[in-house]
């Protein structure tokens, strides 16, 4: 394989991997803070993109669109938590998971009906810019995505390890009742976690949109985000980033060697192989519980 082609494939793989990483981060954040696996996460990514689209049609500058979207998403996350998740807190965990699936479906169908363009686009400051080094070209939006992913990863890692609220979130995720007994205000932690993870999902939507366009099915990226999170060790934030980049790269090379329709196959074979060798993912530690 020519060096130029190899590098181009590598760059493309890291690029798409950064998208998976960003989606995985939001998913794992929600899990770390509540213990809830939020299957609506992909559709919240789409929601964020559509909110940004709506704001951009009001002719607001990009920064206002971005911050406005994050704010609206945070509020929406709290609303979801209050109306749909809170009543289910005492239900079995599986019920909550199915509820998030239903929420995702509702959001997706609402988006489908309200915006029927086949694909919409979000104006971005980097429109029309392509970075070229020799034979290799990169969409600079990918730098933005990976930069934000790493920034979020560091911020969240510090947050969970160093701050009181972060530790409270981890406690709530581990054992809600015990956390309550220790004085953690679960009724504050849940909405806060949902607000932040919805905002991260919306950020992913805004950053991905200039590359992939905006359409109601864009939430399907959650599947790859999920795989990336598992690859990295589901509870590990750096694992999300590494898992995403590894997934994107191997999937792209798989597509080059075996044909475009084998990208997904490569992704899932990779997942199976990694789980066979390291069941807790690349960075996951085995969960130890005092009995």
């Amino acid at each position: 394989m020519e060096l130029g082609i190899f590098v181009q494939l590598l760059v493309a793989g890291l690029g798409i991997g950064s998208i998976y990483a960003l989606v995985a981060l939001g998913l794992v954040l929600a899990f770390k803070g509540t213990g809830v696996l939020n299957f609506a996460h992909g559709d919240l990514v789409a929601f964020g993109a559509y909110v940004a689209l709506f704001l951009s049609l009001l002719k607001l500058p990009y920064w206002q669109v971005l911050l406005g979207t994050l704010a609206i998403a945070a509020v929406f996350g709290v609303l979801l938590e209050r109306t749909l998740i809170r009543p289910l807190l005492n239900a079995p965990a599986f019920t909550v998971v199915v509820a998030t699936l239903a929420i995702g479906l509702m959001i997706k169908n609402a988006l489908r009906l309200s915006w029927q363009e086949n694909i919409a686009t979000l104006p971005s400051p980097l429109d029309g810019v392509t970075v070229r080094v020799g034979d290799v070209s990169v969409n600079p939006q990918y730098f933005w995505i990976i930069g934000c992913s790493i920034a979020i990863m560091i911020l969240l890692a510090v947050f969970f390890r160093r701050t009181l609220i972060g530790k409270a979130m981890k406690a709530v995720a581990q054992n809600r009742d015990a956390a309550r007994l220790m004085g953690v205000r679960v009724n504050r932690v849940f909405p806060l976690t949902f607000a932040v993870s919805t905002a991260v999902a919306a950020l992913a939507g805004v950053l991905i949109a200039p590359i992939t366009g905006i359409q109601s099915e864009m939430g399907s990226v959650i599947i790859k985000g999920f795989v990336a999170a598992i690859l990295g060790g589901f509870n590990s934030l750096p694992g999300c980033v590494v898992g995403g980049l590894v997934l994107g790269t191997l999937e792209t090379f798989g597509g080059a060697f075996f044909g475009g329709t084998f990208k997904d196959v490569t992704a899932f074979v990779l997942l199976i192989v990694v789980l066979l060798v390291r069941p807790n993912g690349i960075f996951g530690g085995a969960e130890a519980r005092r009995v």
Binding site: I19, D127, T212, E217, V221, G260, K263
Partner: protein
């Protein structure tokens, strides 16, 4: 029943029912003042844009026809069922329309997969069926007196028109294809390859596949780049093709791009931006949606009046197809005369020759040996960020008709 009165009551009820039965409507779905049309299509799920468009377009035509007095004194009424793009649900919808709602005919406003699921039932039950949108060959082959295809064209026709356009008008010699792995895209690309070989003895250089939902096409585009074609075909759905066009230009390829039938859309121009300049594709009606020609502006006015809060992206191609084919159906009913029966209706449809019910429609022809209503495709090109028709019409006789003639 022990008592005499009880027996008398039963006899009276039976007699009344017998009388009512004998004065029932002469034909299913037809009364003195109404004709009932049953329609199905996806209004939920990812394919909802097809059914929503088809249904609303049909409703617009129905309201116009009814406002002008209906057909032979009868108003046309439509009952619409959601099939969620599932063959099982489509069949259930059609059965409900035929057996419970007693519709006069069935209008298919769904895609190929669900539509194919209904055809055996409708053919056996001899229900006049007009498929406006699906392109699956099973609608018109084998020939059935009761099944018609309207605005959409046979899936094989795409291959014929593209092959002729590429070789005779663009005169390209080296073609590479990027095609989706989904049924429609795969068939479309297979048909192009087949007709290029059959009619013009041309083999394509390379073909790379992608899946619906993919966001990066670098491996496939690099494969095409290595083959060094004169033109690149991108056959798939709008979201994927719009990214493909951008990435083709980003990766430094300068060849013109020709898109599949599902990828002729204003949103591609908006999404791909300057990269879309010169992009070509086939469109099923003579005018594009934003044409300033009078028939299209008239249509848009009527549409915006009936649907003032239409979401962005509407009306779409399926709005137009639902609209034009209701006019064809109404013409068939008109020609069948006031004594409307299913047999008379299908025979009347077979008298249509180059019928254009509306200025935005392609001409419609049916005969008593084929019900392939439309073989026309208008090739469009993006010029200055707008879709503009290319002044070219296919001339090569379609094999679809010539193969049916021999039967």
């Amino acid at each position: 029943m022990k008592s005499v009165i009880g027996k008398l009551v039963v006899a009276a009820v039976v007699a009344t029912l017998a009388l009512l039965g004998s004065t029932a409507a002469a034909e299913n779905g037809v009364t003195n003042d109404t004709v009932l049309i049953g329609a199905y299509g996806p209004v939920t799920g990812p394919a909802a844009f097809i059914g929503l468009g088809g249904r609303d377009g049909a409703e617009l035509a129905l309201s116009e026809i009814n406002a002008a007095g209906g057909v032979n004194g009868r108003k046309l009424k439509m009952i619409f069922e959601d099939d969620a793009f599932s063959p099982a649900k489509a069949l259930a919808s059609v059965k409900k329309l035929v057996e419970q709602d007693n519709v006069f005919m069935v209008l298919g406003l769904s895609g190929s997969n669900p539509t194919v699921g209904t055809l055996d039932y409708l053919r056996d039950a001899k229900i006049p069926t007009y498929v406006a949108i699906a392109s699956a060959p099973q609608v018109t082959h084998p020939f059935s007196h009761y099944l018609f295809r309207g605005a959409s064209t046979e899936s094989a026709r795409y291959g014929e028109v593209y092959a002729e356009f590429l070789t005779q008008y663009l005169k390209v010699k080296k073609i590479a294809i990027l095609s989706g792995a989904d049924e429609n895209a795969k068939n479309e690309a297979d048909n192009v390859e087949r007709m290029l070989d059959k009619w013009y003895k041309m083999k394509i250089l390379t073909r790379a596949e992608f899946k619906v939902g993919d966001k990066d096409f670098t491996p496939q585009i690099l494969k095409v780049k290595q083959a060094d074609p004169d033109i690149i075909l991108a056959i798939g759905q709008t979201p994927e093709v719009s990214i493909i066009i951008k990435q083709i230009r980003d990766l430094g390829l300068k060849q013109p791009i020709f898109g599949g039938a599902a990828a002729v859309d204003n949103s591609i121009i908006i999404n791909a931006g300057p990269a879309a300049e010169g992009y070509m594709g086939g469109w099923l009606t003579p005018l594009y949606l934003d044409s300033t020609e009078p028939p299209m502006t008239k249509y848009m006015q009527a549409y915006n009046k009936m649907f003032p809060n239409a979401p962005k992206g509407r009306p779409n191609l399926y709005d137009i197809m639902g609209y034009t084919e209701v006019y064809v159906i109404a013409e068939g009913m008109r020609r069948a005369g006031p004594d409307l029966t299913r047999e008379k209706f299908v025979s009347a449809l077979e008298t249509l020759k180059d019928y254009q019910g509306s200025g935005v429609a392609s001409p419609r022809t049916f005969t008593n040996w084929h019900h392939v209503g439309n073989l026309n495709q208008q090739i469009m090109v993006v010029k200055n960020q707008k879709w503009v028709p290319v002044a070219w019409q296919a001339k090569h006789e379609s094999e679809i008709l010539s193969s049916m003639k021999k039967q």
